[in-house]
């Protein structure tokens, strides 16, 4: 304290006190009014260091929250599409069972076929499910329908044009989830094992077996084994017209007086003969025209087999019946079937089942085509094929359900992640509030305290600056 006090000192002192009181007052007022304690970094640099990352983290979490709900929506859209798919497969199964009933009329089968066609169209719709213009089952190819009907000759098939890349989205800090399923894993399957052959109903097995190569067909195909003429036969023997059941190597033996011919240990038939029906030792019929006795009395020849899996569009002829892997290409869909012909002895039709594979669409298409064209087939054959297709529809249904389960699982994990993101957001918001927001109770209390101080300083100033000796000198 100085020895001398002057009026100026009193005035400027009072001025300063009032001013600094006002500054504190206005700062508090700003804090209360804006609700923020830190309005510029220098208000509390340490808090500012926390506020900026917290604000950006909260912003990020808000976006992640939106991503989670979007992901949930997309997954649920996918799941509900697959639920539709599941009902379609269920309905297809019912119709198949109905159609397999032997007492059903041809016309009823026709109308079932029409309904199956409807189901097929619906199933393609399911596989091309969209959400907001994006296809859900095409991998990252989200702007083109991933499944497309391709007409191939008399039949049609559905091709997958998507890819297997996953569409990823961040749903929690550092956690990505896949939004979609690759459609070819839901609607197709290729857990291939050895192809199985079943002879057409009422027919003897042809003796065809799966080759050593890997087939590429899906579901079922019909294999036709036909007689395509003779190879290595003596000039006197030619194929006649009539029933031809035998293929493969055939031994012949002539006997003289009278001239007779026996094929493969079968009963002898008098020659010469035109279109004579011979029977082999194991009961296969073959029609031959024999003009005379050849030079070599006993020998062997080969009945050439024709193999076709595409209704005769392309035929592979077999003369060497020791082959274990004859490649047969289906002209309709380009698939390859590998056949072991070493045991092939008869003509006939076989149903090839590419075990472990299915194609939802092919199953429905085959079903529809079968029911539309069943008039040409014996009843037993139709029933048999229908039961095969029923298996296939069940497998395809299982595939759809697998996809549904996967999406459901992901969707429910979204719930968990969503609440985790929400909780994080709440806790970060609390931290931010602690760092940045005004504690209103404290601030108002402080405001009142400042108010009192301010008023006191005003009063003191008023008192002090009034006193002067001039007031007392009269």
């Amino acid at each position: 304290m100085s020895l001398r006090i002057t009026q100026n000192m009193l005035f400027s002192g009072a001025n300063r006190d009032i001013h600094s009181g006002l500054i504190r007052y206005s700062r508090l007022q700003q804090q209360v009014a804006s609700g923020r304690r830190v309005n510029r970094p220098s208000d509390d640099p340490a808090a500012a260091l926390r506020i900026i990352p917290l604000t950006s983290e909260i912003q990020n979490l808000e976006q992640l929250g939106e991503n989670v709900s979007l992901a949930r929506e997309v997954l649920n859209t996918g799941a509900s599409s697959l639920e539709d798919g599941s009902s379609i497969m269920q309905r297809a199964r019912e119709l198949t069972v109905q159609a397999a009933n032997g007492t059903i009329s041809e016309r009823d089968r026709g109308s079932i076929a029409a309904e199956i066609d409807q189901l097929l169209q619906q199933m393609i719709g399911v596989a091309n499910a969209r959400r907001g213009g994006r296809f859900l089952f095409g991998g990252t190819e989200t702007d083109e329908p991933p499944f497309r009907i391709v007409d191939a000759g008399s039949s049609s098939r559905v091709d997958y044009t998507g890819n297997r890349q996953s569409v990823l989205i961040e749903v929690a800090p550092g956690v990505d989830t896949e939004l979609t399923l690759a459609g070819d894993e839901v609607f197709f399957r290729r857990n291939r094992s050895t192809t199985e052959f079943t002879p057409a109903p009422g027919q003897n097995p042809t003796g065809i077996r799966a080759g050593s190569g890997t087939d590429s067909g899906i579901g079922f195909q019909q294999l036709a084994v036909s007689f395509r003429g003779l190879d290595g036969a003596p000039a006197e023997i030619t194929a006649g017209s009539g029933s031809q059941q035998a293929v493969g190597p055939l031994a012949y033996s002539f006997a003289a007086s009278p001239d007779r011919l026996s094929i493969d240990g079968g009963p002898t038939v008098a020659i010469p003969i035109t279109d004579g029906v011979f029977t082999t030792g194991d009961g296969r019929q073959i029609t031959l025209t024999v003009t005379g006795v050849p030079a070599t009395l006993n020998g062997s020849m080969t009945a050439i087999a024709g193999l076709s899996s595409d209704e005769g569009q392309s035929v592979v002829e077999v003369t060497d019946f020791t082959q274990t892997n004859v490649q047969l290409i289906n002209g309709l869909d380009g698939s390859v079937m590998n056949l072991d012909v070493s045991n092939l002895t008869r003509t006939g039709n076989e149903t090839a089942k590419f075990a472990g594979t299915f194609d939802t669409f092919t199953a429905l298409i085959s079903l529809r085509d079968l029911l539309e064209n069943d008039a040409d087939l014996p009843e037993q054959e139709v029933t048999n094929r229908l039961s095969g297709l029923l298996d296939e529809i069940d497998t395809a249904h299982e595939g759809v359900l697998d996809g549904l389960r996967e999406l459901g699982f992901r969707s429910s994990s979204m719930d968990l992640l969503g609440s985790r993101v929400d909780n994080l957001q709440i806790s970060r918001a609390q931290s931010l509030s602690q760092a940045q927001d005004t504690d209103l109770a404290d601030a108002i209390l402080e405001l009142q305290r400042q108010d009192i101080t301010y008023q006191a300083s005003l009063q003191v100033a008023a008192r002090v600056i009034q006193t002067s000796i001039s007031g007392f000198l009269r």
Binding site: M9, T140, L168, T214
Partner: protein, 787 residues
């Protein structure tokens, strides 16, 4: 004792009292004048008379002086303190302005930065959505604009220093002139021994004002004149002042020079020094850190973006943003080495992968270009790209690289996995192939050049024989012939019969005739060891009706660029032969995986290889004895050289500093050009994940902090600096006030005191008047006696 004496003493008393009252009145009227020092009348008893009896009798009062009450030491300290206060004040206002520019928390760059990453995350929900893409571009532009605005305002702030210093210097010069004038008046007045109190007060006040602007040293001469020194420069000397001027140095910094000899003035304190310091310190410091941040943003974003593929798929043509500088002044741009071509971002030694895709088939062909900035020019790189089939590249006269794809083809720089890695068909293809069985280089030094091979192609029934001759000139070094060199040499002789290729460093020879009956064999033209040196097997390979279809998928997660080479373990049929497998080797020849593809594998099934890559094989046969193999490039970073970033090809941001950063205008015009993915598929968001990851990435260029941390640190430092400046200013203010109080205690006017003085002198006056009247009465009495 004389009569005159009595009246004289009375008169002196009256005069003294009147002077006392006048001084009090002057003090009262100047009570509020800044710099005024109170004055005090000093009186003394006058020289006494000697009375007749030898006694001394006082002869009244004498005014010895009217003096100012000042403490020169306090004034000196106040001046020094004013300089410190001025400095602190400038620092504080400047930092407050910078705080205003950053506008944090909540309003500045942090918000738009968050928006940018938020919009990228939002785009993940639908990478093909045009509105969301536009959102990313818009946020990018907002960020760029925020950077620009902050940078502009910071540089304006730095610029404003010069103007402020100029204004302050002019003020100081005027005040110095005024002091010089006062000096001459004071000298004149004080020559007769009196004190020029009020002029001194004026001079003191001017000196105080100067001291806040520049720290001064004041020296008072005997004559009463005051010399003022500013950092060694004599600002005022006697009645002369020497002006200072503010100039801008070559480096753009503001400097103060003395007017006379233009010598630089070294400042030790005050506002001007603070302004000059700010110019080189705080403001450029913050701007520099903002520049660093902007640069790393540009670098980080462009590194990811430049290797991406836009929504529309591969590029038809591209032009680089930054042009090469004509460093050697020969009029041609692009012929300098890349490191000297003036690109804003450093191009390093590394590699660039260019992918050429066929629009119709989707087939991808990837080419690797080694880039060495110290030996290659932009023209060299353009030539290397130009050498790739279906794409042409050139450097235009502005030094920019242009790349154009041929019709039906597109190019990009993405690191995506080639979905059909075996387009050459060297593993189970329809055409017979023979491989070297190991990677090059091959030692051919044991051969006499020209060395020949007989290659038999055609069908088993109708073989075609071609002689392939290798010359010494085909190889850089015959002791280390590469597969690529060999392939080129063989292809030139093989014509339409077959094709040789470098498949992952291995030499592969393929017959151009395929199918079940086709054949291929390679033999030496005897005698020779060439086939053996090349590792080619001495067998006859046959083709097959349909080739093994190989598809790769996934995204490579490894961190080294390289390749996976797939080699069959034996001869057999996919999905049928027992124990058939594919061994997968990486670029270092290390076995990374063995894939079972024999019995038990269903062709078409997807097999996981390693590092996020999967492959599937269709049906068909593969052969180890023909040494079949195929390789798949595994690219983690398709531009390790930063070439694309350096020249600004397919970039997201343009510019290089906070002031120049902007979003590539082509993206602004067409949001579909934003490369969200790496394949052009509508749902591909591979790049978005990378961009989001950039948010957390610790960047080397930012002292291992992430973008947001670096920015937060800037704001935090600013907060601490501003808070510290605030505290400094307050404490300097308190010190100044304390000194002012001290001065006020000595020199200030107390009105009560003056009132009392007034009353006191009034009473003295009354008494003196009374004394005179008494003397007069005495005289009257005497005179009446004489009548």
């Amino acid at each position: 004792m004389t009569y005159g004496f009595g009246l004289g003493a009375g008169l002196k008393a009256l005069t003294a009292a009147r002077l006392g009252m006048q001084t009090a009145g002057n003090n009262i009227s100047n009570a509020n004048t800044p710099g005024y020092s109170r004055q005090r009348v000093l009186s003394a008893s006058d020289v006494p008379f000697f009375a007749a009896n030898g006694q001394q009798i006082g002869s009244g009062v004498r005014i010895s002086s009217i003096s100012r009450l000042v403490d020169a030491g306090v004034d000196q300290r106040i001046r020094a303190q004013l300089a410190l206060f001025g400095e602190a004040e400038i620092a504080q206002t400047r930092l407050q302005e910078i705080e205003g520019i950053f506008n944090e928390p909540g309003g500045g760059i942090s918000a738009v930065l968050g928006d940018l990453f938020g919009s990228i995350s939002a785009l993940q929900t639908d990478p093909s959505d045009r509105a969301l893409r536009g959102g990313v571009i818009q946020s990018g532009r907002s960020l760029a604009e925020s950077f620009n605005l902050s940078a502009t305002r910071l540089s304006n702030l730095a610029e404003s220093s010069f103007a402020e210093v100029t204004a302050l210097t002019r003020q100081v010069n005027q005040q110095a002139e005024a002091i010089a004038r006062l000096n001459s008046q004071i000298i004149a007045l004080e020559a007769n021994g009196s004190s020029a109190n009020d002029l001194r007060d004026n001079r003191g006040q001017l000196l105080k004002e100067i001291s806040g602007v520049v720290e001064t040293r004041a020296i008072e001469r005997e004559s009463g004149s005051l010399d003022i020194l500013v950092g060694g420069h004599l600002l005022v000397s006697g009645d002369r002042s020497s002006a200072m001027t503010a100039v801008r140095s070559e480096s753009g910094r503001t400097e103060l020079r003395s007017g006379r000899n233009d010598a630089p003035v070294t400042l030790t304190g005050g506002r001007i020094k603070a302004l000059i310091d700010q110019e080189a310190g705080e403001v450029p410091g913050y701007l520099g850190r903002l520049d660093e941040l902007a640069r790393e943003m540009i670098l980080g974003f462009n590194r990811i973006h430049s290797t991406g593929v836009p929504r529309a798929g591969a590029f038809r043509n591209l032009r680089s943003h930054y042009g090469a500088v004509d460093g050697d002044g020969d009029g041609t741009r692009g012929d300098e080495f890349l490191s000297q071509a003036g690109f804003p971002f450093e191009i390093e030694r590394g590699e660039l992968y260019v992918s050429i895709s066929n629009d119709a088939t989707g087939d991808l062909e990837r080419h690797r270009i080694a880039i060495d900035p110290t030996t290659m020019s932009l023209i060299d790189v353009a030539a290397a790209i130009d050498g790739i089939e279906h794409v042409s590249a050139s450097v235009d006269p502005t030094g920019r690289l242009r790349v154009t794809a041929s019709n039906g083809y597109g190019f990009d720089f993405s690191s995506r996995i080639d979905p059909n890695p075996d387009t050459f068909g060297s593993l189970g293809g329809t055409n017979p192939t023979l491989g070297s069985g190991r990677e090059g280089p091959f030692d051919l030094s044991g051969n006499t050049f020209p060395a020949s091979l007989t290659v038999t192609t055609g069908t088993l029934a109708a073989p075609v024989t071609t002689t392939v001759t290798l010359d010494r000139s085909d190889f850089v070094n015959p002791a280390a012939a590469t597969a690529a060199e060999l392939a080129a040499a063989i292809n030139s002789d093989l014509g339409s019969q077959g094709t040789a290729a470098d498949v992952g460093g291995r030499l592969m020879i393929r017959s151009d005739i395929g199918g079940k009956d086709s054949q291929l064999s390679v033999a030496d033209v005897a005698p020779g060891t060439l086939a053996a040196d090349l590792g080619l097997p001495g067998i006859t390979a046959t083709g097959q009706a349909s080739g093994v279809e190989i598809t790769a998928s996934g995204a490579y997660t490894g961190d080294e660029n390289g390749r996976f080479t797939f080699v069959p373990s034996g001869d057999g049929t996919i999905g049928a032969s027992p124990d058939l497998s594919l061994d997968v080797y990486d670029q270092n020849g290390i076995l990374v995986s063995t894939l079972a593809v024999g019995a038990g594998y269903s062709p078409g099934e997807v097999l996981e290889v390693a590092d996020g890559i999967s492959i599937s094989l269709g049906p068909g046969t593969i052969s180890a004895s023909a040494q079949q193999a195929f390789s798949l490039d595994t690219v983690a970073d398709s531009d390790t050289s930063d070439f694309l970033v350096g020249i600004g090809l397919n970039s997201f941001f343009h510019g290089e500093t906070a002031a120049t950063i902007s979003v590539n205008p082509e993206l602004s015009a067409n949001a579909d050009l934003f490369a969200a993915g790496r394949s052009g598929a509508a749902g591909d968001a591979a790049n978005l994940a990378q961009l989001i990851a950039l948010r957390e990435t610790q960047l080397d260029g930012l002292n291992s902090s992430s973008i947001e941390t670096f920015y937060t640190d800037i704001v935090g430092d600013l907060g601490f600096d501003a808070a510290a400046a605030d505290t400094t200013l307050r404490s300097q203010d308190a010190l100044l006030r304390e000194l002012e109080t001290q001065r006020e205690a000595i020199s200030g006017v107390n009105l009560d005191e003056e009132m009392l003085d007034l009353t006191r002198y009034q009473q003295s006056y009354d008494a003196a008047a009374r004394f005179i009247s008494v003397v007069q009465e005495m005289t009257d009495t005497l005179i009446s006696l004489a009548r």
